[in-house]
């Protein structure tokens, strides 16, 4: 699993790890059942503080994306997200709010935005976690 | 716990051994260079008989010995500072006292070692020419010649050389300690050497004041220095001796006392102080 930390980023390190793992799962790079490197391994690789990596893993576990099995390791779950639909909608909508603001600023219409969104989803769909 | 105390002592001994070994490896070139130069000089002078054995001894255990002392004293601490390895050394679990003391010990040992080997070389050179009578030195020294000593040096040149060697080496070692401690503050070897030269000349001038007083020969300090050579050689660079020379200029019996006082003041006391003190003063003095 390849994760890249952006130096001098305004995004906290744990957030970067979370986002990248999420993206990899969504795009199919990481499939359900895949084993993630251990906290120690990933921490050494990046390099980053083990607690930071742990925080990222725990957040993803809480959101249902990962599953930590004692002694075995951390795996991508094959069950749908444990979060309620409303929560999931809320998380996505906050990102979309930013996109909407940009679109208005760049004078991009709602239809054009829809097209772009569909393109992105199609790009991810082939191997990724699709709608249920 | 007795175990801990013993363990602690063993650890300090290991540390000491490590420090001394490192000093030897690092500074042994000084020893070899010094030994070769001084031995060669003394042996050469005695064999070629350019000067009398007494004068050769005075030269070697006097001015040349002084240069050697500066060479040994100015090097160890200041070269370490200049190379910046001083910070690396001091950051280890050693006190600055131990570091200074180890360098001092190695310096003294090398100094004494060089003089011993030089003396042996000198003796060999003398024997290779046969032990012979010295020219009548009383002519050379004129009325200032210390009578008994002249007889001694002419009848037993080897023994007189050895006497010079012992007394001279002790005297040089006495100058080594304060010079070393003073120069330990220097930041590089060149500055330390320069400082050593200045300090040595200053003390020599001070000595000559005392001698000149004692001899009442007025302004001709160099002649005074040369004619007083045997005494100078024995008490060279002893800051106390000018006083004694003023008090009792022609009396040789104060010599042993002076030597003992020298050894106590310039070797034993500084050692004791550095070893027993809380080393705070050493830290302040040496810094870094």
């Amino acid at each position: 699993m390849f994760i890249r930390l952006e130096p001098s980023s305004a995004v906290p390190v744990y957030r970067q790890i979370v986002d990248q793992i999420k993206y990899q799962v969504a795009s199919g790079t990481l499939r359900p059942g895949d084993r993630l490197p251990s906290v120690r391994e990933l921490a050494r690789r990046l390099p980053a503080n083990q607690n930071t990596v742990l925080k990222a893993y725990e957040l993803l576990t809480h959101e249902g994306l990962l599953n930590r099995r004692q002694g075995d390791g951390t795996f991508v779950t094959d069950t749908p997200s444990a979060l309620k639909k409303s929560e999931r909608l809320r998380k996505v909508s906050s990102i979309l709010a930013q996109a909407a603001a940009q679109a208005v600023h760049f004078e991009i219409t709602a239809d054009e935005l829809h097209t772009l969104l569909n393109e992105e989803i199609d790009r991810l769909s082939p191997g990724g976690r699709s709608h249920e | 716990m007795p175990d801990n105390a013993r363990g602690a002592r063993v650890r300090r001994q290991t540390v000491w051994a490590a420090l001394l070994r490192k000093e030897w490896y690092e500074q042994r070139w000084r020893f070899f260079l010094g030994t070769v130069v001084v031995s060669g000089l003394l042996a050469g002078l005695l064999r070629a008989q350019i000067v009398s054995s007494v004068e050769a001894a005075v030269l070697i255990y006097g001015p040349v010995g002084l240069i050697l002392v500066i060479f040994f004293a100015a090097g160890p601490v200041s070269s370490e500072r200049a190379d910046r390895t001083w910070e690396f050394l001091v950051v280890q679990p050693v006190s600055r006292s131990e570091v200074i003391l180890a360098k001092w010990a190695m310096g003294v040992v090398q100094l004494i070692g060089t003089m011993v080997i030089a003396t042996l070389a000198g003796l060999l050179a003398m024997w290779s020419r046969g032990i012979r009578m010295m020219p009548d030195v009383s002519e050379f020294y004129g009325h200032n010649a210390p009578g008994a000593f002249v007889t001694w040096s002419t009848t037993h040149p080897s023994l007189s050389l050895c006497t010079f060697a012992i007394v001279g080496t002790i005297a040089l070692a006495c100058w080594f300690t304060p010079l070393y401690l003073l120069l330990a503050r220097a930041r590089n070897e060149f500055a330390a050497t320069l400082g050593g030269v200045f300090l040595t000349i200053a003390v020599l001038l001070w000595l000559m004041v005392g001698i000149s007083h004692a001899r009442n020969t007025g302004a001709n300090w160099f002649a005074t220095f040369v004619t007083a050579s045997p005494w100078v050689a024995m008490t060279i660079l002893n800051p106390i001796s000018p006083f004694l020379l003023i008090i009792a200029p022609n009396d040789a019996t104060w010599l042993p006392t002076v030597l003992v006082v020298d050894v106590i003041v310039w070797i034993v006391f500084p050692l004791w102080y550095v070893v027993r003190s809380s080393s705070r003063l050493v830290e302040k003095w040496v810094g870094g």
Binding site: P12, T52 | R11
Partner: protein
């Protein structure tokens, strides 16, 4: 404080050099097993503080303890139990790597030869090579080896990546995580490369003008310190704003870096034409705001 969870405890340290007061009451606690980054401008006193912790220098006032030992009382005890790596340390160039390791091992009762040998392999250092012939990266790896081989519980690193190429820097940081955090050692780490040490640290301490002005977990720092950009209404008078670290005004816009957005949000919203833009900052910007930020908010 005798809490055994505190590895390094510093209380009100003061130190002056001649006329200059370098440390003006530094207080800090580094928890056992944590990695604490130590930031400050050049000449802020970072090295002075570290030297006091090592017992190489004596504070004028205040106290500190490292691993439970007071360095002003037992400096050798402190140095025997902690690992230290300085910037640009010059080691004996004439010794060979193996010799140097052997020599240094004599000073440390807890030296682990097997660990030293394995570290030497890992760091790809040749035992027969002269220390003077090593590259900068190899030298710093060797220095790190010497700091780690006696298994210290606390490691102090003073700008260890100075002068290293990016690959060597990364290797060193990997070793810090891999060798030290793994064992639960405490790391106290001063550096100028904020973007590099931020991912490594649990907490950040900022030393400025002789005092620790901030000592906080990295994520909390990022949460608390944000930049607010707004376009104030004409002739707006700046209200009383607590926690402003830096204020900039340009082309009719205000940019405030604040500690605690919520405490100023209402006041700023009331004077803003349009809304507020709240931006996240990286550690460099946060650090800048703390040490060179302009605190004064002009009132009209």
């Amino acid at each position: 404080m005798n809490d055994s969870r505190v590895a390094i405890h510093v209380e009100n340290l003061r130190k002056h050099f001649g006329q200059r007061q370098v440390l003006r009451g530094v207080s800090l606690d580094v928890m056992a097993g944590s990695i604490c980054g130590f930031l400050g401008l050049n000449g802020a006193g970072k090295t002075t503080l570290i030297r006091i912790l090592l017992g190489l220098s004596r504070a004028d006032a205040g106290q500190c303890s490292v691993g439970g030992i007071d360095p002003s009382v037992d400096a050798l005890g402190v140095r025997a139990r902690i690992g230290y790596m300085a910037e640009n340390q010059t080691m004996y160039g004439w010794m060979r790597v193996g010799q140097l390791i052997e020599w240094v091992s004599r000073f440390y009762p807890s030296w682990d030869r097997a660990l030293a040998a394995s570290l030497r392999d890992q760091m790809r250092l040749d035992a027969d090579e002269k220390v003077g012939a090593l590259s900068k990266g190899q030298t710093s790896r060797l220095a790190l080896l010497l700091a780690l081989a006696h298994r210290p519980g606390i490691v102090i690193l003073d700008d260890p990546t100075l002068g290293l190429d990016p690959i060597a820097r990364r290797d060193l940081l990997r070793d810090v995580i891999g060798q030290l955090q793994d064992r639960g050692a405490t790391v106290f780490f001063s550096s100028h490369l904020l973007y590099e040490i931020e991912p490594i640290c649990d907490r950040i301490a900022i030393l400025h003008e002789g005092r620790i002005i901030k000592c906080e977990a990295v994520d909390e720092l990022r949460e608390n310190v944000k930049r607010i950009v707004l376009k104030p209404a004409d002739a707006a008078r700046a209200p009383d704003l607590p926690g402003v670290l830096d204020f900039q005004a340009r082309d009719g816009q205000w940019s405030l870096t604040v500690e605690g957005v919520e405490s100023v949000r209402p006041a700023l919203t009331s004077i803003s034409r349009g809304g507020l833009t709240v931006m996240d900052l990286n550690l460099d910007e946060i650090f800048e705001a703390y040490v060179i930020g302009r605190r004064e908010v002009p009132h009209a």
